[in-house]
């Protein structure tokens, strides 16, 4: 496992909305849970380097990726962060194989091919390698997007509701495969969701994000206890 001791402190104002969070990724899995509009996606985009916060700092794997006080903001492509969103955004003109290979062009062709096959196999998508991205189903696209994000062996994988819109069987299968990453311990994962049934299965530290602020942090049951009634209503 890489020596990851990240510190995250982000403050971001967007109109009347303020995101103000400070936490560490102390576990291999961190779940950010909260209602729509809480700032989950904004936070992930800032961590990925796709958006610039008003102020903040972000340390990951011994590197300072963001420190607005010292004018440091590492480019998204050099942060060693994978990001998979609800819409997988596969390159439509490429095959599944070429999509996964996109971020590892620097590898020798043989090593690249091995890595691509390994990543596709990890998500049960090895048979899709030669398929054009446009011919993949929703679930297949998610599998290829996850394989693509993990191919460059990032230090951190950001997952923004990656299972949204999938049928239960596909979602469960992908989740099990993602959980197998925990045992290999190769990457830290920040998993955003507002689906309680989804995060219930994850061995993660949970951050409850409300209106841009972390209001609770800790094990799932402890964090969600004050919201029990509301969440049970959601499940019904």
């Amino acid at each position: 496992m890489p020596d990851v001791q990240p510190d995250i402190a982000i403050r971001h104002r967007q109109g009347r909305f303020t995101l103000d969070t400070a936490f560490s990724l102390s576990q291999p899995w961190t779940v950010i849970f909260g209602p729509s509009g809480a700032g989950k996606t904004t936070l992930l985009r800032i961590l990925a380097g796709l958006a610039q916060p008003t102020s903040g700092r972000f340390h990951l794997a011994g590197r300072t990726l963001l420190d607005t006080e010292n004018n440091i903001s590492i480019h998204a492509g050099q942060r060693s962060i994978g990001f998979v969103t609800q819409q997988p955004a596969l390159f439509p003109h490429l095959t599944a194989r070429d999509n996964v290979a996109f971020g590892i062009r620097h590898l020798e062709p043989e090593r690249r091919a091995t890595r691509v096959a390994e990543m596709l196999r990890l998500f049960g998508a090895e048979s899709l390698a030669a398929q054009p991205a446009t011919q993949l189903s929703g679930g297949e696209r998610k599998r290829v997007a996850l394989a693509r994000a993990l191919a460059p062996a990032p230090d951190l994988l950001l997952l923004d509701e990656p299972l949204a819109g999938l049928d239960d069987a596909s979602a469960h299968d992908i989740l099990v495969r993602l959980l197998s990453l925990q045992s290999s311990g190769q990457v830290r994962i920040v998993y955003v969701s507002h689906d309680l049934a989804e995060i219930w299965r994850l061995p993660a530290e949970v951050l409850f994000l409300e209106s841009g602020r972390v209001t609770a942090i800790g094990p799932l049951q402890q964090v969600l206890a004050p919201h029990r009634e509301h969440l049970l209503q959601q499940l019904r």
């Binding site: 480019h75 998204a76 492509g77 962060i81 955004a89 390159f91 003109h93 996109f102 971020g103 620097h106």
Partner: protein, 222 residues
């Protein structure tokens, strides 16, 4: 039929199209992605030739490239001959005159590519050049073809700019449209008719190539 003029027009149009794609692709990429205050100004300047009468553009180019300006003298020193009244001068004039016909469709094509794809390319370590060559251009082939077809036909048909910069030198600067003008001046209406039909044919062919690449609504995009 003035075959010399036909060959010159085709050579001019092909050269102009190649130069315009080489210049227009990076310029359109910058216009489509820049977040600086300069962008509207640059976009306005590149669009200006659409609004200017061709003779105005041709006149200022003739003055600018003539022997009485520093630019004109520098070009003469570097190339050994003045740009005015030469094929190279026609290319410079045509490139400027048709610039919006390259930049506008290319910029529109680049802007239509899903931002999420560009962000993924960025996250996967692609720099601006690789994002352009590996994502934007393959996803904007229709726009590239449209730009090329428009530049080619626009150059084949241009009159004012080439007449002002190049004059009417057979084999050197007399293009098809100038040949038509000459034929009409000489009351050779039959010859003017044949040359005009040829120009119409070139334009129709370019448009057929352009529209053949468009996929009807609801049809799968090959």
């Amino acid at each position: 039929m003035d075959l010399q003029a036909l060959w010159l027009s085709l050579r001019l149009a092909a050269t102009t199209t190649v130069v315009l794609l080489a210049l227009g692709i990076p310029l359109a990429y910058w216009i489509a992605s820049a977040r600086t205050r300069l962008r509207p100004l640059v976009e306005a300047i590149t669009t200006l030739p659409i609004l200017l009468p061709p003779t105005v553009l041709g006149f200022y180019l003739l003055v600018l490239l003539g022997p009485h300006t520093a630019i004109g003298r520098l070009v003469t020193h570097l190339t050994g001959h003045p740009l005015a009244f030469s094929f190279s001068g026609l290319v410079v004039g045509s490139v400027l005159y048709s610039l919006p016909f390259a930049v506008q469709p290319l910029a529109a094509g680049f802007r239509s590519v899903d931002t999420a794809l560009l962000e993924q390319a960025q996250l996967l370590g692609a720099g601006r050049f690789r994002t352009l060559t590996s994502v934007l251009l393959p996803l904007s082939t229709h726009s590239v073809i449209a730009a090329a077809a428009l530049c080619f036909t626009h150059t084949v048909g241009e009159f004012g700019v080439v007449l002002m910069i190049g004059g009417d030198i057979p084999g050197a600067t007399r293009t098809l449209s100038i040949a038509i003008y000459d034929q009409v001046q000489e009351f050779s209406y039959a010859a003017a008719n044949r040359t005009s039909l040829l120009l119409i044919g070139v334009a129709v062919l370019a448009l057929v190539i352009l529209y053949a690449r468009r996929v009807p609504n609801g049809a799968p995009n090959a």
